[in-house]
């Protein structure tokens, strides 16, 4: 990166006019002047990005070490900021992750492009190692206060605390004030930023939306937060399964350009050509290689030659030969999925939900890259289906919530192209569906193509949009079962209302026109009630069958979910990892009681112990209300009616019909 000499450079001797010196500047200098490119374009975004970067790092680290993450976020207003419309804030993000070895602290928080994840082709949240250093830079720029880090690995007896600054000139982190202290956890990291910014809680780009999104896609995470105005809240984890992020598979030769191919060869040194091709790439087996050689008429000698001895020309011919051959698509094993069951449990954490549907697609190949799409649609309780507000869209790329620049995103494009009306949602033409719904779409891939460096928008290729569309349609179909029951119930309700509203008017008018006596009026009114009563019976039958279909679907899912949870606890009993034994006291009790099923979910939510059945019952909320409803009438004939009002009215009309 070449840049003109920056103003900040001290003691730059005055140059004669007209002559300009070309200097190079460090990566840190570049980013410090271009923080907007990495998510620090405004005081509002700065706060969000800081939390996001710290949280991504925590989650990634926990996953790498098989730790169930406990993450705490605290934001505190310390006073007014110097910039317009800002506050001076204290932002603390802490976790129970593996901790950072002391030697790495400066690198992690103070050096740009220092990362354990760069270019590894894994589905980790962070990739380049820019974000958290940028947050440090923002804090330094706005309040001249370095970040404060506390960290402890499980091998350390005491935690290390120090402050970190960025040396922009040399792209290096500098630590100061190192101390060792006693800390309340066996391992973990806490980072504290003092910075100016503005806390935006609500709206699509708000902090709460970000945190809720994270809660949804990380069922294994327990999150505590303390935010200005909203206070504290806790989301307990709903599964004890730490997602396994698979290691990257070897690169697929068709995804490589010639230059990459050549430098890849140089990494392998004295390996034989055949071995290099076989082990250095995916989808090149001995059989495939010999086929290529035969097909493209390459010499046998080349196959046995050491890679280092091969000339560029030879490597080019190999490259051309491989590109000319059609190969199996890359493996999809490198993607990590949340899973329908875990997501089902996680959806419940978002708040009061009427019902929901989830769909996880099988991993597949899009644009020659492995990818997996998962979708959850939930209806928020108490919202009106007639609402013209577009649905809330939660977008995730590698389980990181995306919050800005929604319109151009592949996910939004896919949503708008689905015909939601056929699933019972309202939708203006070529737009997002409307109504009180949360529509979450997660795209996971080791190679997500973003439109910009701050990773806010997924590039919309046709193949990717189509894959997301399919997932959405699958979830939509599942959701429509619920909606179908609803519309049938509404239909019945409407029909009953029709009778009450229009019956008397019809008869009265006919009587007036024909100038008929009251006797005819009474008779006609009775007759009309009978006719329309027959119709409502029919509507009731339809409603019953819609409900049966829904019940069956729920039952099947419940069975699967139960199996999933059993597996979950069995797995945990198996693992009971030794590193967790050194967990702090509050965690201890959990691990010790793994034998007891119900205690697995022992983290009390709202002070009430939740048995597994409780959790299962929230999965089908209408079920519980139904049992309550069916208990009320004397004879619980069938499970046809759930709406009390509908039931009462229908029994009336039924008895009227029976009289006849």
């Amino acid at each position: 990166m070449t840049k003109k000499s920056s103003k900040s450079e001290p003691a730059s001797t005055p140059k004669p006019r007209g002559s300009k010196k070309i200097t190079s500047s460090s990566t840190a200098e570049y980013f410090s002047k271009n923080l907007q490119q990495v998510g620090f374009s405004s005081p509002t975004k700065a706060v969000l990005t800081t939390v996001k970067e710290a949280m991504d790092n925590s989650l990634d680290a926990c996953e790498d070490h098989g730790i169930l993450p406990n993450i705490g976020i605290s934001i505190e207003k310390l006073g007014a900021g110097t910039m317009k419309n800002t506050d001076k804030l204290r932002i603390i993000v802490d976790d129970n992750g593996p901790g950072i070895p002391e030697a790495d602290i400066a690198k992690v928080f103070g050096e740009y492009l220092a990362s354990s994840k760069f270019g590894r082709g894994r589905c980790s949240r962070g990739q380049q190692g820019i974000g958290i250093s940028a947050a440090t830079t923002w804090a330094l720029q706005t309040t001249a206060t370095p970040v404060r880090v506390i960290t402890k690995t499980k091998d350390q007896r005491k935690a290390v605390t120090c402050s970190v600054e960025v040396d922009l000139k040399n792209n290096k982190g500098i630590t100061r004030d190192r101390q060792t202290i006693d800390w309340d956890r066996p391992h973990g990291t806490s980072v504290e930023f003092i910075m100016e910014g503005r806390v935006q809680l609500n709206g699509e780009a708000g902090l709460l939306s970000y945190l809720r999104g994270n809660v949804l896609v990380n069922p294994h995470m327990t999150l505590n937060y303390n935010l200005p105005e909203v206070g504290t809240a806790t989301y307990e984890r709903v599964t004890k399964d730490v997602p396994h992020v698979p290691d990257a598979t070897e690169p697929h030769p068709h995804t490589m350009k010639l230059g990459e191919f050549l430098s890849h060869a140089r990494l392998f040194g004295r390996t034989k050509m055949q071995t290099w091709l076989k082990t250095g790439f995916s989808r090149l087996s001995d059989k495939v290689i010999s086929d290529i050689w035969k097909e493209q008429k390459l010499t046998k000698a080349l196959l046995d030659k050491g890679v280092e001895a091969a000339s560029d020309e030879e490597l080019k011919s190999v490259y051309a030969a491989v590109q000319a051959t059609s190969l199996m698509a890359p493996s999809t094993q490198s993607v990590v999925s949340i899973g329908e069951d875990a997501m089902s449990l996680s959806v419940e954490r978002l708040g009061e939900i009427d019902f929901f549907a989830v769909a996880t697609r099988k991993p597949t190949i899009c644009d020659f890259k492995p990818i997996q799409v998962e979708v959850a649609i939930a209806r928020i309780q108490g919202g009106s289906s007639e609402s013209d507000e577009p649905v809330q869209v939660l977008r995730f790329a590698n389980r990181v919530p995306l919050q800005f620049d929604k319109a151009a995103c592949a996910i939004v494009k896919a949503i708008t192209t689905v015909n939601w009306r056929s699933y019972g949602l309202r939708q203006p033409k070529d737009a997002l569906p409307t109504g009180p719904y949360i529509l979450a779409v997660s795209v996971v891939s080791p190679f997500i193509k973003f439109k910009n460096a701050s990773k806010e928008t997924i590039d919309a290729s046709d193949e990717l949009v189509e894959e997301i569309r399919r997932a959405l349609m699958q979830a939509g179909q599942r959701l429509s079962r619920h909606l179908s029951r609803e519309t049938k119930a509404a239909d019945l309700e409407e029909k009953i209302q029709h009778i009450e509203k229009f019956g008397p008017v019809l008869v009265d008018t006919l009587v007036r026109i024909t100038k008929s006596p009251d006797k005819r009026k009474t008779a006609a009114y009775e007759g009309l009630k009978k006719i329309l009563g027959r119709d409502t019976d029919e509507a009731q039958t339809k409603l019953a069958s819609a409900e049966t279909a829904l019940d069956e679907a729920n039952l099947a899912r419940k069975k699967r979910l139960k199996a999933f949870q059993d597996e979950d606890s069995a797995l945990e009993a198996l693992h009971a990892p030794p590193e967790e034994e050194s967990e702090p006291v509050e965690e201890h009790s959990e691990v010790d009681t793994t034998a007891d099923d119900s205690a697995v979910e022992s983290q009390p939510r709202k002070g009430k112990k939740k048995s597994k059945d409780d959790i299962l019952s929230v999965f089908a909320p209408e079920k519980s209300s139904k049992t309550a409803a069916t208990k009320a009438p004397k004879k619980a004939t069938n499970k046809s009616t759930s709406k009390k009002a509908a039931e009462e009215k229908s029994t009336k009309t039924k008895s009227a019909a029976n009289k006849k």
Partner: protein, 389 residues
């Protein structure tokens, strides 16, 4: 002529009122016996249209649309009966109202009676639909229920024609069209009630698609030089225009010609409707079509003969593209174009469909740009030479 074609010749208000009362009484009787009332109406669509050249217009087949009372239709039926009551009251008192006025009358009724609240119409489309439904139910013209539209078109010029109208108070108005100068006479409401008389023998009547062109011809002295009637139809003829031309045909018995653009829309939607009625108005075609009207032009052969400027059809234009598609359908399914007697017209339609060309009526003015009477000359020449279909 089968009786169904003109069921209401000579029908008067009391007949319709009697029919409506009978219908309501039947509905009430059905309800008393807990039987669902069924309302049957003639199916007004092309697949239920018949054409016989001896009859001259499209007549309904046997297909009926029936509406049965059930939970879904109870609202529609209640609204219909409600609107019927308003219409019957108008018939009784001799009041007239157009659809928009009826919409507000219904609004007013509902305002003063809360029980009627559920019937309230959200917009005029809803009340219009109910009025049309009533008409189909009792097979009556809207006009017979004293509901008139502001019919457009029909501006008529003649030096020989005298029209006598009987007004609702029994007095008569006599209109001598020769006294109107360049102002046209325009029939309104029910032209079937008008009496026509020719002061002097009228040689022909010509119906012109563009009212503008009709006015130009008259302003240039067309009606001074020829004993004729000139009528502007202004696009697709309204009920008033259709009934008016039918009246001219029946009462004056003069040859009638239609002069308009050469395109699929004019031939199917304007000329066919004028001559033989339309599929959507099957029950009223008998009083609203003039089978004697001939197609004077523009004919495809005129393009060559007079070297007229023509254009290719713009298939990206939605309406033009639809007309072309409709032309193909018409050739296959429209009994009017399929009838042997109308082979000439079907050939023009086929030519239009295949060549995808069109030519406007005003193109005649390009033949001799300095002669303002050129269109008149060509029209007269074509009539004289029998150059029409």
């Amino acid at each position: 002529m089968p009786s169904v074609h003109s069921p209401r010749k000579g029908r008067i208000n009391t007949d319709i009122m009697k029919q409506c009362l009978g219908l309501c009484d039947q509905m009430l009787a059905d309800l008393e016996r807990a039987k669902r009332p069924i309302l049957k109406a003639t199916k007004c669509s092309l697949d239920n249209s018949l054409y016989d050249h001896k009859v001259g217009f499209l007549t309904p087949g046997d297909k009926k649309v029936s509406t049965e009372l059930n939970v879904s239709s109870v609202k529609k039926m209640s609204r219909s009966v409600f609107m019927l009551e308003i219409l019957l009251r108008n018939l009784e008192t001799g009041n007239v109202a157009n659809k928009r006025e009826l919409y507000y009358v219904s609004k007013g009724e509902i305002k003063h009676n809360q029980i009627l609240k559920p019937l309230d119409f959200a917009d005029q489309d809803e009340s219009d639909e109910v009025i049309d439904f009533i008409c189909e139910m009792i097979e009556a013209y809207r006009e017979e229920l004293n509901c008139f539209a502001n019919d457009r078109g029909g501006q008529t010029y003649s030096q020989q024609l005298v029209v006598t109208e009987t007004l609702s108070d029994g007095t008569e108005a006599v209109i001598d069209l020769s006294q109107l100068g360049t102002s046209p006479f325009q029939p309104k409401n029910r032209p079937q009630n008008l009496k026509l008389k020719a002061k002097k023998k009228i040689d022909f009547g010509i119906i012109i698609e563009s009212e503008g062109t009709a006015n130009t011809l008259v302003a240039n002295g067309f009606t001074k030089r020829h004993n004729c009637i000139v009528v502007g139809s202004q696009g697709v003829p309204s009920n008033a225009v259709r009934g008016w031309v039918k009246r001219i045909q029946d009462q004056l018995k003069v040859p009638l010609y239609f002069f308009g653009d050469l395109d699929a829309y004019t031939l199917q939607n304007i000329y066919r409707t004028l001559k033989a009625g339309s599929a959507s108005s099957l029950i009223r075609n008998s009083d609203f079509s003039a089978p004697e009207v001939r197609f004077l032009g523009v004919l495809p052969e005129d393009i060559k003969k007079y070297d007229l400027n023509d254009y290719s059809v713009n298939e990206r234009d939605v309406q033009e593209a639809r007309s072309l598609k409709k032309a193909r359908d018409a050739l296959q399914n429209d009994p009017f174009f399929k009838d042997k007697r109308n082979k000439g017209l079907a050939e023009i339609l086929e030519w239009l469909y295949k060549s995808k060309r069109r030519c406007e009526q005003q193109a005649y003015y390009a033949v001799a740009p300095r002669d303002p009477q050129i269109a008149e000359k060509i029209i007269v020449e074509k009539i004289k030479k029998g150059n029409y279909v």
